[in-house]
Assembly symmetry: C2
Homo-oligomer: 157 residues x 2
């Protein structure tokens, strides 16, 4: 029971916030759906795979499984399966960590690095195609507001 009793008739603020969230979700889903379809069609891949490769591309020395799941903000068990499949496809390696036999470092293979570079270029241009029209009219400000929103959300945790 929150201290805000929004059930009063003349209190549209919570409705406005709800609408804001629904709009955010809708825009996000449209973009995500299109990107997922592109990844599937062009590279026979998926968003989660792309996200893992992106993280490993950025951290060249590799990431431990737990670090990977932190960076991606997904559960531990989730990453295991995705990495399993990437290993099977030769894009990623599990390397033992010296001095800690519990941990494994996940790293891109040469092929993984090459493949991702191509995919990342395509991905960037897909996003650009989707957003360029909107962004030409105040996209920078909007982007900054999104950043503020995220910060405001993270403060609450």
């Amino acid at each position: 029971m929150s201290q805000n009793k929004r059930s009063e008739k003349s209190e549209p603020q919570s409705k406005q916030n709800l609408r804001l969230w629904l709009r955010l979700l809708k825009a996000s889903r449209i973009i995500e759906t299109q990107l997922r379809e592109k990844l599937r069609q062009e590279f026979a891949s998926t968003m989660p795979r792309f996200d893992v490769l992106a993280a490993l591309y950025r951290f060249e020395k590799g990431l431990k499984m737990s670090e990977l799941s932190n960076v991606l903000m997904v559960s531990n068990g989730n990453v295991t399966g995705i990495v399993d499949r990437l290993v099977k496809d030769g894009l990623v390696l599990r390397v033992p960590v010296a001095g800690d036999r519990r941990a494994l470092l996940v790293r891109l293979t040469a092929k993984g690095r090459e493949d991702f570079a191509v995919q990342a270029n395509a991905h960037e241009s897909w996003v650009d195609d989707m957003l360029s029209e909107f962004a030409s009219k105040g996209g920078a400000e909007f982007s900054d507001q999104l950043d503020e929103l995220t910060k405001s959300l993270e403060e609450r945790i």
Copy 2:
């Protein structure tokens, strides 16, 4: 025109658009994750279930399976499973459509309607709690921009 707002190197537009998308995705994920956790903890339910109930609550006469999947922007086969479970839990009914033996109308039961009303109130206040701080500083404009973004995205399809 704030095209060269960044550094002297003038980052390409596509990078800015990519950042916009990543910020949108991040904000969306934070909210979604928190809502999902709340639904699970408070009502032993999930987002997809909530979404289905919300759609059926809005369309009192019920929706065909295909209409439901259109409204929710998810695949046909997906809805089948969710509705199966909602039927099993007594929140939803499948009703034959007179004159078309292919189609089924999905409708809330009395219990479904009652349960959802409670959940929707809670959901609205969760969202309000998350967004009220941010929304107090220009949230209305931001919301309108989100709406424009969605329209711009939908024009491209």
